[in-house]
């Protein structure tokens, strides 16, 4: 056949393409329909009794302490100034720039502030009040009321970690009204409430959150903080020098911890006590010897913060 015929075919193809047959489709299910029915029947008729052999969790043999520091290796990324666009007199007196707090490095020690480290295993749901797992020292603080203050349009606690049984007293030490918008996730309840000048409101999380969540103020959109709510009392937030300590942890069993830092992209390139390590999704497992104090000196490369 001749060149001319090819042009004709090509033309038709183009036409078809224009007509839209070549348009990208939304992806749809890719699996065999039969397995759906199988699963549906199985789902409907749950096997009563023990569904297969569950790996029993051994009990701890006593108590131990986990402490350590988080430090930054390399050039700390500069803190970005925030866009203060109202109530300047209160929020930025003298027009001084307000800097973001998602990553605060202590210039002296290179310590990383506001790194949360909290227990997530072995129990998927922590046995609250189980004396084998929860040291009695924690009993006293179970119902405590914690302070969450804001001054000059800055949340004074940038990352607040609490137990789901505890209460938070959200106070406002500014002469302007704020609204505290707590975007709870998981069991932790969300609540957005106006906090009048020098007034306060109470927040009761109710349940635990799988990971820290945002607390913002819609009236002053640049304000931001985070909150972490756990059933277990085993969590800590690193201080300005990057140090943290979790006392009275159950010992002799493999515990799993989760590490979280707001600005961290990943936890792949770490050195833990001098040895290179990788914590996938910030998780790591550790077994603490009885009545010992285990130290974790963690160094995170500034690359992990996209610097």
């Amino acid at each position: 056949m001749t060149k001319h015929d090819w042009r004709w075919v090509a033309g038709l193809a183009l036409l078809a393409a224009l007509a839209g047959c070549a348009r990208r489709r939304q992806p749809t299910e890719r699996f065999d329909a039969s397995s759906v029915d199988v699963l549906r029947t199985a789902f409907g008729s749950a096997v009563k009794g023990p569904a297969g052999p569950k790996a029993a969790i051994p009990d701890p043999d006593g108590w131990a302490t986990l402490k350590g520091t988080f430090k930054l290796v390399g050039q700390p990324p500069a803190r970005k100034p925030l866009d203060v666009n109202r109530d300047h007199s209160v929020c930025a007196p003298g027009g001084k720039p307000v800097l973001g707090e998602d990553l605060v490095i202590d210039t002296a020690t290179n310590g990383i502030k506001d790194v949360a480290i909290y227990l997530i295993g072995p129990h998927p749901k922590f046995p609250v009040g189980d004396s084998k797992w929860e040291h009695e020292s924690y009993g006293k603080t179970a119902g405590d009321e914690l302070l969450f203050d804001q001054k000059q349009c800055v949340f004074l606690t940038h990352l607040l970690a609490i137990r789901s049984s505890q209460k938070v007293r959200v106070t406002n030490s500014d002469p302007v009204g704020h609204n505290t918008n707590i975007n709870g996730i998981g069991g932790a309840k969300s609540e957005s409430i106006t906090v009048p000048e020098h007034g306060y409101s109470m927040y009761q999380p109710g349940g635990q959150s799988p990971r820290p969540f945002k607390v913002i103020c819609n009236i002053h959109p640049w304000m931001g903080a985070m909150m972490l709510v756990r059933d277990s009392p085993f969590f800590a937030v690193s201080k300005a020098d990057g140090s943290f300590e979790i006392p009275n942890l159950p010992s002799g069993v493999e515990l799993e911890f989760q590490v979280f830092q707001e600005a961290a992209k990943n936890y792949k390139e770490l050195t833990v006590n001098g040895k290179a390590a990788t914590w996938e999704q910030g998780k790591f497992k550790i077994k603490l010897p009885k009545d010992q104090t285990e130290t974790l000196n963690v160094e995170i490369k500034s690359a992990a913060f996209g610097a």
């Binding site: 992806p27 749809t28 759906v36 549906r40 199985a42 096997v47 569904a51 106006t194 906090v195």
Partner: protein
């Protein structure tokens, strides 16, 4: 010559087969999937195996747009939420069954805005302001329950019946009650479905092996089950997977079950002067720092206070004010171009959540879920010198807000702009 005819035939075939009426199916929750994949797994997308698991599980739980299913939990949590017969009435293509009962109500009345999947992204959606609700978050603005709690059946029904004044959501008051019920149930169904998909995505990202449905056992012959003989390891593994899913569906369904309207104390009866006084008090509260309304609604209640904020479902994905470029990757995945959340202009007298005093009281004391609108601080019990409002204060605010629309200053041109068309009278 015959090449031409051949290619013509080819094109015809392509048209008939390739471009025939499409198979209607739920679309994936691509935006959130991208977000989760990035945050939790540090990769742009879920793998196709992970997606296969999710799709499979979703199909197992909720069926298809043409043939919906209710997740079968022993507790029947979901069964109490919605009835399958009503769902079938709302689902499927438009038409009617043998008995002449309507079918496909959702696609007749809702889908072109809210989308087949209830993602609030139907073909008409992009032209509307505000955008239609995306059911998949389980967040609804105008309801009687506080904070971000789920709405009650009545809340959703009211919205369907009355529509949402000031938006493109029309009233379906003129539909038969059974059809409205069907639609409300279907909205819940889509909402639940979306929440579950979101949850499954999150769980998948958390799983160490990253797979949700690794084993699919063969269907056990009814005889074996009856014999009650122990489950094979394969079945056991499968049950373990399903337990996880069950748990997820359970507590999401639980949120819907626990939805309960907030109580509202009766508004004090008032005569003219009392009302005037109450309005005056309300005005002070409006400008005061306890209720702090002016901050967002502006010094003259025209809704011009904070106008550069966004709603939560945008901020969940990315922060438009900080990283506007991130919009591209979500727009590519079906997000509608984000718009600012604008505080209501209270002088129009249009109340989207209803203009009954009750509704406005609820807006004030419950906040508006997903938006910057917070709830007012009620005076905590047992602390006399703490700041906060008492119900009568809230009623003052309600009265003031209701009176705003009628302040003569609103429309100085009312007379001029409504020149009556000339009429001759005998």
């Amino acid at each position: 010559m015959n090449v031409r005819f051949a290619s013509l035939a080819l094109l015809a075939a392509a048209l008939a087969v390739g471009c025939g009426p499409p198979k209607v199916s739920f679309v994936r929750y691509t935006t959130v999937a991208h977000k989760i994949a990035q945050d939790q797994m540090g990769q742009p997308e879920f793998s196709s195996e992970q997606w296969r698991d999710i799709d499979l599980t979703m199909a197992m739980l909720f069926g298809t747009p043409d043939n919906p299913e209710i997740p079968a939990l022993e507790g029947g949590e979901v069964g109490q939420m919605m009835s399958l017969s009503r769902l079938k009435m709302a689902a499927g293509p438009v038409g009617s069954d043998e008995q002449g009962n309507p079918r496909g109500l959702y696609r007749e009345h809702c889908a072109h805005c809210h989308g087949i999947t209830g993602d609030g992204a139907g073909p008409t959606a992009v032209f509307l302001n505000p955008y239609p609700r995306d059911y998949r978050l389980g967040l609804f603005k105008f309801k009687s329950t506080p904070d971000k709690l789920r709405p009650t059946h009545e809340d959703l029904k009211k919205t369907v019946l009355e529509g949402i004044p000031g938006t493109a959501m029309p009233s379906f008051k003129l539909l038969p009650d059974v059809e409205v019920e069907a639609l409300v149930d279907y909205v819940k169904y889509l909402s639940l479905r979306g929440e579950v998909e979101r949850e499954l995505l999150m769980r998948t990202s958390q799983l160490t092996e990253g797979r949700l449905m690794t084993v699919v056992a063969k269907a056990p012959a009814s005889g074996e089950k009856a014999a009650g003989k122990a489950a094979t390891p394969e079945e056991a593994a499968q049950q373990a997977q399903l337990d996880a899913v069950r748990e997820a569906v359970k507590d999401i369904a639980g949120r819907w079950k626990s939805a309960k309207s907030a109580e509202v104390p009766a508004r004090p009866e008032m005569d003219e002067q009392k009302l005037a006084a109450s309005v005056a008090r309300g005005r002070d509260l409006f400008y005061g720092t306890i209720a702090n309304c002016i901050k967002c609604h502006g010094d003259s209640a025209l809704g011009d206070g904070v106008t550069n904020d966004y709603e939560d479902w945008v901020k969940d994905l990315y922060d438009p004010s900080k990283e506007p470029k991130a919009a591209r990757e979500y727009l590519a995945r079906g997000m509608l171009p984000p718009r600012n959340a604008r505080p209501r202009n209270l002088r129009l007298g249009v109340f989207r959540g209803g203009h009954r005093p009750l509704d406005i009281y609820w807006r004030l004391t419950n906040g508006i879920a997903g938006t910057p609108m917070p709830k007012v601080l009620m005076k905590p019990e047992g602390d006399p010198n703490a700041k906060g409002l008492v119900p009568s204060d809230v009623w003052d605010l309600v009265n003031y807000v209701q009176s705003l629309a009628y302040e003569p200053i609103n429309n100085p041109l009312a007379a001029a702009s409504e020149a009556e068309n000339l009429r001759i009278t005998p």
